[in-house]
Assembly symmetry: C2
Homo-oligomer: 412 residues x 2
Amino acid sequence: MALIVQKYGGTSVGTTERIKNVARRVARFHAQGHQLVVVVSAMAGETNRLIALAREIQAHPDPRELDVMVSTGEQVTIALLSMALMDLGLKARSYTGAQVRILTDSAFTKARILRIDEEKIRRDLEGGAVVVVAGFQGVDEEGNITTLGRGGSDTTAVALAAALKADECQIYTDVDGVYTTDPRIVPEARRLKCITFEEMLEMASLGSKVLQIRSVEFAGKYKVRLRVLSSFEEDGEGTLITFEEDEKMEQAIISGIAFNRDEAKITVLNVPDRPGIAYQILGPIADANIDVDMIVQNVGHDGMTDLSFTVHRNEYHKAMKILQEQVAPHIGAAGVTGDDKIAKVSVVGVGMRSHVGIASKMFRTLAEEGINIQMISTSEIKISVVVEDKYMELAVRALHKAFDLDQPRQVV
Amino acid sequence: MALIVQKYGGTSVGTTERIKNVARRVARFHAQGHQLVVVVSAMAGETNRLIALAREIQAHPDPRELDVMVSTGEQVTIALLSMALMDLGLKARSYTGAQVRILTDSAFTKARILRIDEEKIRRDLEGGAVVVVAGFQGVDEEGNITTLGRGGSDTTAVALAAALKADECQIYTDVDGVYTTDPRIVPEARRLKCITFEEMLEMASLGSKVLQIRSVEFAGKYKVRLRVLSSFEEDGEGTLITFEEDEKMEQAIISGIAFNRDEAKITVLNVPDRPGIAYQILGPIADANIDVDMIVQNVGHDGMTDLSFTVHRNEYHKAMKILQEQVAPHIGAAGVTGDDKIAKVSVVGVGMRSHVGIASKMFRTLAEEGINIQMISTSEIKISVVVEDKYMELAVRALHKAFDLDQPRQVV
């Protein structure tokens, strides 16, 4: 007998028929003797409907009141799923975030979980009931309703799994697991049976949007065994996200190819190569609340160097303006150039730590396809390059093949 | 400066445009220096939409879960109205029933209010904010969400007015007050400037469904000054529902003509005229959860009597069956007859206490129209008759005219 936390997203509970399907799946696990806590999102489309309604009243809805409103989406789903479970003869009980008491800070629309009172849930589980909890929401010290922001239901599930020391946290979604890359670009992309938390973080932040990144960080921090599965498949085993150190499992060199074309690159030319120069350039960017992703500075020559970095494409013009008007004249740079027609492509895998030659294989593969590399940045478990955006799909396909990701994963 | 509790029903907040109108009205009162607590219902149609959704899952939805679901209707409205008030530059703050802490018993879908914690509301009012409270809902000792049943938002408003010792409780609805009778039947029907609680109870229970009857009882018990107004009129003064004893005001003999055709009459013929016989007949009816309205038993003769009563038309067949199969043979009655083609018409007014001749005037009026009276029942402030249902409109019109209700009300 295990204690399992399951989470079903908006698409999985999008209609009453689908809610009944979720109930049947939960009932199968229950019949196997497991204790179940089920976290649900709002029915697909409901959150957007509520936000649109709020915007009919206020162009920028008051955050506290928006949370009061938007939290009703999950509240409806928990009641419907509990009813569906009872209709199958199970005992079930719903809880809103406030009722569980998922205590958060007071940052409306993007609150963070501080603590979970799990006694009521434990008591219900011991009484044989399935506990159904509203995802995405909590309550602050003052009793105000808060929400965790988009995708927060994953975080709710992981946090509950951590608080209850659950054996596994299963995230049901409309994909059946984590893939080596996006199957829409590479039809040969394969589902990974397992992936480490670190790899998952790199994959998620790079655009494979299967799980909300905060929930993955949370799971890693509290050592929650996390599994991504499809709610539309009967017997899939999904992808297990796990700790390299803890579990013996197949381990390949490269786990996947991530990519995005949401960024723009900016280069400040010929700046004096002296201490503090990076701060003088990037400080004003941070002050303007612009997130910077890759940063590359090469060794200088003749006391001068170039500094390049990438920002979100939406903030490209704002960043360029700051640099041209405030920064470049001040530090005596020769100029500022930029390009928003770029894409970032990364190979990700914990295996590369102990393997040489990954970078050279990546660069050779791109060269063979005639793709010029504009920027390079590396971490322990990934290598990212910036290329002209029209080459993105070609680069992803070539790398996917070069690293044999279309073949069953090889143990190192 | 007064403390005013206002309540707006589902039609008054049925669209975002109407919610903005409500906000403008609240803002006008606020600008006059009043403190305001605003109770709102779910947007028109929303509660029915939620119930229909629940029924797609469970034919008879679990009451606890139904309350979790249905209570979201008002939760959306409080957020929207608070936003609309802020958009007009006011301070505003919403509360669900649980957040106020409107403590109720645990009778899901028909809970009763036990206590209201009014400190938070007082603090907000003193801080200059308009407080917006979800009607129709509360929370039990265990923290479960409860609802007060249909129309419960009126009760929430009155209970809040009582707890806060408000100067007035204003119920905004889609009619502009209480009328002498239904204007759809008698075009000359007039709006009453005031009516006593007792009259209002008789009018409400007899079919003038302006206010939920429980809220009127509640207002009477806690001496809450209650006013019914139209949310679609700019400057109406509505109808004040007040205490005869407390306030000097115009007082006519008859305040209105009430009616309904929801009932059926049943007569048990020739029963032994001995103690306990009424209980033997009506006990099994009550045991079957059938509500009885009028009960008439005339003096007996030759040791025998007839007993007649009315029940809701929907329960007519059930009641007849019980009487024919269980009761009549047992007590030795000659038979059971019934008729579901009847209507009840009543004249209501506190003035009749001190006036003779009201009954005879009523009966003469009906006789002049050739309407036969089948049953008569009286109380301190009303006289009700049962007539064939096809005569109902004619009886209402004739009585309305006979008692000069189309003329401005005369002070006694």
